[in-house]
Symmetry: C2
Subunit: 273 residues, 2 copies
Amino acid sequence: MKLGYLGPEGSYSYIAAKLYSKSNILVGKPSFYDIIDGVENGELDYAILPIENSTEGAVTLVMDALLKTKSSKILGELTITVKHLLLGIGNNIGDLKYILSHPQALDQCRQFLRENYPHVQLITCSSSSEACSIAKEKGVEYGAIANQYAGELNKLNIILSDLQDNEFNQTRFVVIGRSAEGPTGNDKTSIALYLKDDSPGSLFKVLKIFSEHSINLTRIESRPAKAEIGKYVFYIDFIGHITEEKISEVLKKIEEYSNYIKIFGSYPKGEIK
Amino acid sequence: MKLGYLGPEGSYSYIAAKLYSKSNILVGKPSFYDIIDGVENGELDYAILPIENSTEGAVTLVMDALLKTKSSKILGELTITVKHLLLGIGNNIGDLKYILSHPQALDQCRQFLRENYPHVQLITCSSSSEACSIAKEKGVEYGAIANQYAGELNKLNIILSDLQDNEFNQTRFVVIGRSAEGPTGNDKTSIALYLKDDSPGSLFKVLKIFSEHSINLTRIESRPAKAEIGKYVFYIDFIGHITEEKISEVLKKIEEYSNYIKIFGSYPKGEIK
C-alpha cells in the first residue's frame, strides 16, 4: 500500500509515516494539496498529514484543504514529540546569516531565535528536509532547522539542539484514505460545521447537544469561513464512532442548526509516540 | 500621542494606523514583540496590531503575545479590507523567480500563486513593505506582495492586481494602550480563559453562563496552552463592557471553572473601513 507524506525523505511527516506503519511504501509529495489530490485520484492508498501542534496550534493549510476533500476520510491519528535541531555544514553558529525551514518549524523556534540570533534572516522552505539540502548546497552561512534523521541524510552537523520554544512540542497527524474504518470501541470522530445562525453564540446550542448526550469533545477549533470577518467554520473532534446510535442521533439534532456538516471520519484513538 | 505599528511605512498596519486616527505620530517597529514592549514600557502611548484575517484566521503571534502583556489593555478595534498587489521594478511576470511578503500576505494568495506560478519561490519578510524595498533593490527577478501605498512609496510597478484568494479579505486590528476605556453603550470585551477541567467539553459550561445572561459572543478561538496536545486556552470576545453589572456577574461565575482569566479590555465596537 502507498502512504503519501510531505516530502522529501527526512521530513517530520516522513518520521510520522514510518512510525504509523512499517509495511507501507512511502511516497513523498511536494505539498499538502498534492498529497490530498493523490488520495482522491487513487494514486495513493493513504496519506499522513499534520493537523495540529502543541506550540503553534492548527496546521491551517491542512484544515482548510480537508474541508474540500470528496472521497477521502480520516482513518487514524498519531501524535509525535518534535525536537528541533539547528543543522549546517559548518560547526560555528557565528557563521550563519540565514536559517531555513518549514514555516511551522520556524514558528516553533521563533522566540529562541529572536532572543539569541535576532540578525539571522529566516527563510521558509516547503519542508524541513528541503531546508537541509539547501543548507548543504549553499554553505556555512546557511543553517536548517530539522530533525536528526534529515541531518544524517544530508550529512550535516548538529550546531544546536532543542531549539523549540516549548518543551512539550508535539504534533498530531491524521491519516486519510478512501475507505471508512469500523468501530473499535475506542474511537474518535472529526466533523466541521457551518452553522445557520453564523455566530459563535450559536455554537453553544451545538455543544449543548453533545453535553446532553454525554459525548466528550477533544477539540474545538474555529477557522474563517472565507467570507467577511465574524463568519466561522467550527471543527469539532469528539469521542465515539459514527456507527453508534448515540452519535447519529447527535448529528441529526445538529443538522437543525447547520447549513452543512462535513464528516471527516471516525477512527481509532491514536497513540503518542 | 505616539501610535506604534508593524513598520516600515506602507505596511497594512500603517494603513490601519492612519485610518484609526489622523492626529497621532506614527512609530513603525520591526516586530509585534517590539510594539507590545513599547506600549508596556511607556515609549508608545498606543499601538495597533492585526488580530484576525477573514481568509487566514487568527494572527497567532499577536494572540500569543497579548497573553503575556502586563499593563496594556485593548482600547479599540478596526477592520480594513485588504487587497494584495504584485509589485516589482519590472513589468513582466515571466521575469520573476522570487516573490516576497509577510507570511500572512503570502498565505492569503497561496492558492492563486500555486495555480498560476508554481515555480516561483516564496520568501517571507518581516512585513510587506520590507518586501517592497528588497524587491526594488534586488531587481526584476524579485516581486513583492503589498498594497498600493507601499508600491508608490518604493516607486514599484503594479504587475498584477487582486491576488488574494478570497474576495472578502478583511483584517481586524486591535488598538492597545495603558489606560482603560469607559463604556459607550456599544462595546465589546475580549478575554482569554485557562479552564480548570482542561477539555473543550468544559467550554460548554462557560458558554452556558454567557447564554443564561443573554450575552452575545462575537468570537471564540482556541490556542494551544503551550503544553501537550489537547490543552487549550480559549479566547472569547463578547458584547458588553466590563463595568456592566451583568458582565461582572458572568466573569465571577466563569472564575469557578477557570484557573486563570486574562481580561484584555473593553472597547467601543469598531467600524469596517
